[in-house]
Symmetry: D2
Subunit: 386 residues, 4 copies
């Protein structure tokens, strides 16, 4: 499977083409829209989330409720587009319109680097594409990955572990309950006390004209043993997960299992003892590895965390420089959220779901769901007997 | 550029083919060997490092001291191979030899997952390839990347920030001095006091039959603005760096700039103000972004950190299960190091160097160093004028 | 650069996302539409060509008449869609609709192979995607490639050399005149006498309920020396051109330069003598190689020919088998053209244009047209001095 | 699966790394060497074929006669290397050696294009890599592909159909007999009369100081239905085969099934009627499509032909230009064959075998031969029942 996304933040639409999805997969537009809706919720989102109620259109690759094996085109229209038609027009325009050129790069954004790289004096040509609005499509793509995982009883769940200085206590729940609880939480947090504090911190940041980042975790249960591979660096599943998570807008770090804690622990407290029972086959007594050893899944839940920096668009601005006048200025304000960490948790789920779905398609015959289901069933039996 | 590595830990040799290196690059075998030697040093390495004095052979793609544009073959022979010829033979063998089958998977290794994935009852067929011995070739590949970076005045430096519970104080030095100091340190640490404590901790772990992980940092100075891209998730440089680092054996996390600290800071203390001066062009007042904004370099030093778990091969073993008898056992001991963090620092430098070199070749015309040097020079001038 | 196309023949639209096009390329919707129109013309096209007047919508990656470096989304709507909404709906449908299932595979189509591969009992799920309607998007993509080539003075021209048994005499013209003449010819043929005979042959085939294939040639002038590479099999430009042309629906062969004639000639009449003059630099006295030696361009015009089989949809049907009843039947008739060779010539131009544009972007710095123009200019100077 | 080859014609060795070969494949060095030997035979080969008796060394990825899933390193040493050590040394050399610089490009070779592209004034740096010596590794890689195909009862056979002006009559034989007969023929031709004439033509060309090209055909029997795909241009199997064959040194054309003949025939004589029987399932009454419809296999034998131009190294030289003096000269003679078409037939088999093996690995679960065998068996049963 592969996909490309396209579209600008204030352009007519976002588009993705997804290639290589198995045929005969039940394709639910409602489930994809439900994921898009999850991305738009969360305490701390700004006004735009109300303007844009994202809905996907399926324009190829699906017929009568099932995938056909052909490439899938998904589109999410930008409702706001009507107000931006002139500014964002693909057609040549008269000079007047051009005056609204963006010459002031915002710190923490792609603006200046992109402008230099792509020879743009109007940084709107950069920021429209670098915007986190693009994560809408990554959520849509991930939702397709989830449809596939669902068929194999693989579940993906996210949670927010930290917002600003507020850290949640770790709460271990069966995954269904875990999901139910985070869905009810305005900050996708399992720790009820932290939830309240997180919301307060967000409100406070908003008042202060500041923004908050945080820590999110994704958990995947039900994966077969042996996704990914140890044989070549670019086939290791942990490497792919790291790329997927780090490539989310505003993410600055990623870790698997105990992650950075591993630096400080002795080896005897890092690895997971292997056990075996007739009923369950091989298991690990603990899951410090986060479900991945040697670049491959070991059958335990996959645990990936990512850190999101505070949204760089600031009400409390940093200094920057106008590229035309070279004069310093206080970085301009665009309408924005004060905290997007709950949404980022949904995006992280999506990119992880996609990578696991992709790894499933690489390991198993994936032209058609029929073949794939049967082959995975046989492999799971074999795994238990191994 | 692209590369594949091959070879088993106790096979005859490790091999890599590197494709797409610009022609006319001065190719110094000595410099590559120097990198291989750096990987083998460090307080805490075991006996094997003395057995194998790694030396590279250049078997294609280089002539009379310069690359030709043709694929480069590098080989490092395993000196130990003479003792393993029967066990590791490619040829069919008599039953007797087969008795030495490995049926006992080690916790924290690829052994069991790989055996299941690849249908192997002899886990030697997995562990020989999943071994960190493979990092030898990644260092060699990275050394080729460094030769290229050198031509553009780009410098890569590593350091160890933590081993076990011992954390170094951050020391900021000019990069040449930084390199000189870490080269002299048996644990590649800039903080002299921490250095002593780290060595003690390693010795203690060894006595206890335990092992230690740690934290390493790579710094790259002199990169042009605009490597990587914001336009598509899989072209973002931070994502590629994350994959490269996470795919190093035993690495469990990666972060860029202030990384995980970004979760707890308000936005006003996360982003880097933009300045401009006639002499230097655009700069950032701070470098919390670690040199990457919007998936692209911003011209500031690239800062990447990775965490290595303690070496899973343990003198103080964990429980595991024999795959033949299904009986529990105390995981077997293979000769090993008690701490490989200083070496891991060299490996991390190598994979980062490669990614930056690769990004350079993508941005600039890279058939020949001649073209590339001239184009980079022009681009840097343009950047200053922008 | 890379692209994916999507869309079904009777679905709502065809879509493509094109990634990696240099920024600041003047982007003319008119020129793309002109190419789409060329594909729809030609003696022998059926009724559908009148129904669907293809027009492209640009939905991302272009602003105010120039590319921005961001991915470009192009859409061509199927005007016919309104009559197919139920049959082609992505939504689950009631049983009634399902009755129109296609259970009768047409010889010479993907129908049966695709149905087996993708586990489809309704072959509409295959034929909608395998349809040559998809070439619309390849022409659109190729038109973007042409915009780029134009900026470098590279010209692409096609012609029809044979339709059915009618072969054209070879006519050598300056490329501008060549283009003008083929644009005026209803069969895109330079030989006026053959033109008449071709049209007669097409009319005759139509009367007979039969169809005709033919031979097309694409010529590219103005390419720099050294596109492609000899160093690795998958980087050879001739190999890429061969894949591009052979992957056009209904194409069964591809040749470069004198192509299959090379089998029968002695070496002394196959290769092209090298000359040099102060004014022009290196040239070849002849162009039997078709502009490519050693997998690279040599600066002479690129000459690629492809053969198209007669359209498999037949008024004069072949026998086939119903997959439900296993009964033999005379293959069903879908509305169709009797000869699509003139259109195929336009498609072949498009895929060749794309490959050359792609090869340009690989050889030269392609983030921005500004950089690329300057670098190509310098390279051409260097080439003349070599 | 993927592979890269490396190595110069007169360097120490040729190397390839092959990635993604299923584990547990019986790996026979003898069978690979047998293929290498086939490449070296044939009426018309020059002296070098006697110097270099190619033998493969297996340096990774295989243990005790079976693949392990790890990357496979294959090496063929150049026996001639001892005489070329100074000229081809990777080490910097004294000026004296440099005098043997090649400044005279041969027509029909990569020499001049490559020298310009890669900024080389010594064209040895190009010709050493562009040499057809590289096909040795493609045969080795193809031989690994054949080992895999063999496990599934898929057979690959080649033949020579034309050498110079001598064309063979088409002889249809059961594939085992076909193979036996071509193995006995010094020109790999099934038509005994043509065989004699071909040998005479080769001898005559040699006397005349000229060289001959020809036409080769590869036939693959036993392939499952549905390899390749119709859904995206770059996944079509015919496109991949075309790239593979066209990328062979000196090949100028490729066709599938009736290929270029399709231009002249009416549709009713081009497509293959579909039949069905309880015993065999779906078949085609004829095989004009050459086993591929809609970019996918249809279960009939795959038929691919390629044309090889006469070897460009000429005893009867063409004019060229010295790049230093710009003086015209009569192109220099390197030791060479007068006809390499029989060998080219073996190379064509190899690249086709690889593409089919690769397509098998894409369609079926290919981590381990065990899984793959079982899944292919089930798929074939399903195919018969469809």
């Amino acid at each position: 499977m592969r996909y490309i996304t396209a579209g600008e933040s204030h352009g007519p639409q976002l588009t993705t083409i997804i290639e290589g999805v198995p045929s005969n997969l039940p394709f639910s537009v409602e489930k994809i829209n439900a994921q898009l809706e999850r991305r738009q919720k969360g305490h701390g989102r700004g006004r735009r989330m109300q303007i844009e109620k994202d809905q996907v259109k399926v324009l190829s690759g699906v017929r009568h409720g099932y995938t056909t094996g052909a490439p899938i085109t998904l589109v999410v229209e930008n409702n706001d587009w009507k107000h931006w038609q002139g500014i964002m027009s693909a057609e040549p325009v008269e000079d007047g319109e051009q005056r609204r050129r963006v010459s002031r790069p915002r710190p923490g954004h792609a603006d200046l680097n992109g402008a230099i790289k792509y020879h743009q004096r109007d940084m709107r040509n950069i920021l429209e594409r670098s915007s986190a609005r693009e994560t809408t499509m990554r959520v849509a793509v991930g939702a397709v990955g989830r449809l596939l995982l669902e068929a194999f009883g693989i579940t993906v769940a996210g949670q927010v572990l930290q917002i600003g200085e507020v850290k949640a206590e770790r709460v271990e729940l069966p995954i269904a309950e875990h999901i139910a609880r985070t869905e009810e939480s305005p900050v996708r947090c399992l720790d009820k006390q932290a939830e309240v504090l997180m919301m307060q911190a967000i409100d406070k940041a908003k008042e202060d004209g500041d923004s908050l980042g945080g820590l999110v975790e994704v958990r995947v249960e039900g994966v077969p043993i042996g996704l990914g591979s140890h044989v070549q660096w670019d086939r290791k599943l942990d490497g792919k997960l790291a790329q997927a998570v780090m490539s989310i807008q505003a993410f600055k770090g990623v870790e698997i299992g105990i992650g950075f804690e591993a630096a400080g622990r002795p080896g005897s407290q890092v690895h997971d003892a292997i056990t075996w029972s007739k009923e369950e086959g091989y298991r690990r007594e603990s899951n410090r590895a986060g479900g991945i050893e040697g670049g491959m899944t070991n059958g335990m839940p996959i645990i990936v965390r990512g850190v999101m920096k505070p949204i760089p668009t600031l009400y409390k601005p940093l200094m920057s420089v106008d590229i035309d006048t070279k004069e310093a200025f206080s970085a301009s304000i665009e309408r924005s959220d004060s905290c997007a960490v709950p949404a980022a948790s949904v995006v992280a789920e999506a990119v992880v779901a996609w990578e696991i779905a992709q790894a499933m398609c690489e390991k198993f015959p994936s032209d058609s769901l029929d073949d794939m289901l049967e082959n995975v069933r046989q492999y799971r039996e074999y795994t238990e007997r191994f």
